[in-house]
């Protein structure tokens, strides 16, 4: 009953100042809307990175050849051919933190099928290549150990390659393609993976058995890379360290020598991206928090003006029997009403903005319930916090002084 009366009193006095209430609310609306929208965008980009990282194979560790250092002139990473099949075998044999290992060779080639042709990258690897890269076959099979031993002329192709050579609707399995004039039988079609976080098309790929590419296409001793997958995400760093030491022994490097190889993992890249997006999220949240704060100060300002302006009204209310606590609650209720209603409108506006950005900006957006609850709670707290002082000021007035106020 009492609460109901308070709400009625607050509603009656607010409804007499609609424009002012709306303008005051605007600060909170903008604050909450920006919290919701910015967190949604931040969360969205974070999740986007995470999924694309996972599609690359989050546990994978890559070993690349090191840089050339001849006479002080250093080339870039991968300019030196140092990795061999033996290195890959050694890692597979000795490193306890990896499950699968495959040597990788690749060659970018012109591929022909019928009257169509396409230029793409042909990767050669063991069957484990699919596991490590997190590739699955949509139609057909991957190649077998026999294919590897016999250097069979078989391959698995990505959707992009298939579309360009055979058209979108055709099943390529069983058909033949010619890579550098060598005919290969297509035995599998990879499931669509889309772009990775760098914008590369992950479906524009042909995978063939390692020995086939090595012997029939490249006739080289050296590898482009070794891919391995760590036993778990937590073990990636241990795996990297152990691989490094195995590689140093393999390459007979003295402690004075620099590594002639590079070990990298998806986790490194993922961590970098995640920390960037975390910083972004914090930054956005700070900006949003500041605008909420400014909104709160706006409420306090208006409430102070309102208390001064309505001193006589407070006097009248006290004369007819309002207690100090009634006046305190009236003004607190008014400021909470402003901030809560502003918060609700802000949440709707924020969701709307986030969806708009998601639709037209091409950004993924994730609206989390946490951000809604957080900003709503925060805006209500702003109402109580900034409404308290003006309300107390009103409640402590002496009735006769308030009544005489001009």
């Amino acid at each position: 009953m009492r609460i109901l009366n308070l709400l009625k009193i607050a509603y009656r006095s607010l409804s007499k100042n609609k424009l002012r209430v709306l303008l005051t609310m605007l600060g909170i609306i903008i604050g909450v809307a920006s919290v919701i929208a910015m967190l949604a965008i931040g969360q969205g980009s974070k999740q986007n990175i995470q999924t694309s990282m996972a599609s690359l194979g989050i546990n994978s560790v890559m070993i690349f050849p090191g840089s050339v250092n001849s006479g002080g002139v250093r080339g870039g990473a991968g300019t030196y051919s140092t990795l061999t099949q033996k290195d890959a075998d050694a890692i597979a044999a000795k490193c306890e933190y990896v499950t699968d290992v495959t040597p990788v060779v690749s060659k970018s080639s012109q591929v022909i099928a019928g009257n169509q042709n396409w230029h793409t990258n042909v990767a050669g690897g063991l069957n484990q290549y699919f596991t490590i890269r997190n590739l699955t076959v949509a139609v057909g099979n991957t190649f077998s150990t026999t294919d590897e031993h016999t250097a069979a002329k078989v391959c698995v192709i990505g959707q992009t390659v298939s579309t360009n050579l055979f058209g979108a609707e055709t099943n390529p399995v069983g058909k033949f393609i010619r890579i550098n004039s060598i005919p290969f039988k297509v035995i599998g079609l990879l499931a669509v993976k889309g772009q990775n976080s760098f914008g590369q098309d992950q479906d524009d790929i042909i995978v063939a058995p390692f020995s086939t590419v090595m012997k029939r296409m490249l006739s080289t001793m050296y590898l482009n890379a070794i891919l391995a997958s760590a036993t778990s995400e937590k073990d990636i760093q241990k795996a990297e360290a152990q691989i490094s030491s195995i590689m140093r022994i393999q390459h007979k490097l003295t402690p004075a020598d620099q590594d002639d190889f590079t070990v990298r993992s998806q986790a490194d890249i993922a961590n970098t991206f995640e920390s960037i997006s975390n910083v972004m999220t914090i930054l956005l949240a700070c900006i949003a928090g500041i605008s909420l704060m400014v909104g709160g100060i706006g409420i306090m300002n208006i409430m102070l003006v309102s208390v001064t302006e309505r001193t006589r009204e407070i006097g009248i209310r006290m004369a007819v029997g309002a207690k100090s606590i009634d006046i305190l609650f009236q003004f607190i209720t008014e400021s909470i009403f402003i901030s809560v209603l502003g918060g609700l409108i802000g949440i709707l506006l924020g969701i709307f903005i986030a969806l708009l950005v998601g639709r037209f900006g091409g950004w993924p957006v994730v609206i989390t319930p946490t951000s809604i609850i957080l900003s709503f709670a925060f805006s209500s707290a702003v109402g109580i916090f900034f409404g308290w002082y003006p309300a107390r000021k009103a409640a402590n007035l002496n009735p006769i002084d308030a009544l005489r106020y001009e």
Partner: protein, 254 residues
């Protein structure tokens, strides 16, 4: 006899500080007002009559010396909340400047005291407010805003508001100060009717003709009561109003 005393003020003293100067607003005032009285307090400005009214109306939280009992309750021993409740239940206020809430309809103004009385339901609140407005002849103006009402009508809304919680006493501070003669007399008519029903009325005024509608006149000067006498020739509003000259047509309608 003792049960019929409503207001019992003993040795009340009140001192203001204006810079270094001490102003004695009230110097030793003692007064009893019985239930059913109609008292007009008069005096020049600065005589302490308004200060006295504010203290007996429990509107001034700054302490005064002496003792004050209202309907047997020791007012000076009460805290702010108890005073607020006392005002809500037992006192109705009328002010010179009406003091009704702007941009608030007549009925909402009249409902105001009941919003601070948690025992009243919304339905009862509306009924009682309407009844109070009806008793001052404003039933048809319930939804009018103050700026759509004349001064006399606004003061009648204020009277309705003061009546709505069935007070023991109405305290009116210059109730006719802002009104023309006819409106003033109409207010006095309402006061006399209420007084006849048993409500005690304490009214501050500096108009001698208005004071003559009361039963007793008290004169303040320099913070003290100079005279406290029954009105010799009491005026009755019912008789006086027809004698007033008709200045414009609206006068007859109200």
């Amino acid at each position: 006899m003792a049960e019929s005393i409503l207001i019992d003020v003993r040795n009340m003293q009140k001192t203001y500080k204006l810079g270094d100067m001490e102003v004695h607003a009230l110097r030793d005032v003692s007064l009893t007002i019985n239930k059913g009285e109609f008292v007009a307090i008069m005096g020049p400005s600065g005589s302490g009559k308004s200060t006295f009214m504010n203290i007996i109306g429990c509107l001034d939280y700054h302490p005064a010396n002496g003792e004050y009992f209202l309907d047997g309750e020791n007012v000076f021993k009460m805290n702010k909340d108890q005073l607020a409740e006392l005002r809500n239940r037992k006192i109705g206020f009328i002010f010179q400047s009406f003091n009704i809430l702007a941009r608030t309809s007549a009925i909402e103004n009249v409902e105001l005291p009941m919003l601070y009385n948690s025992g009243v339901t919304a339905k009862e609140r509306k009924e009682r407010a309407l009844a109070a407005l009806k008793s001052v002849g404003l039933a048809d103006r319930a939804d009018h805003m103050p700026n759509q009402l004349s001064g006399g009508q606004q003061q009648r809304v204020a009277i309705a508001r003061s009546l709505v919680n069935n007070p023991l006493v109405i305290m009116a501070d210059e109730p006719t100060g802002n009104l023309d003669t006819r409106s003033s007399y109409e207010i006095m008519e309402i006061f006399q009717e209420l007084n006849d029903k048993g409500i005690t009325i304490v009214m501050v005024t500096h108009e001698t003709d208005i004071a003559q509608f009361a039963k007793t006149n008290i004169l303040f000067r320099d913070g003290m009561i100079v005279t406290n006498v029954p009105v010799a020739v009491r005026k009755f509003a019912k008789e006086e109003i027809p004698k007033l000259p008709v200045l414009d047509k609206n006068d007859i309608l109200t």
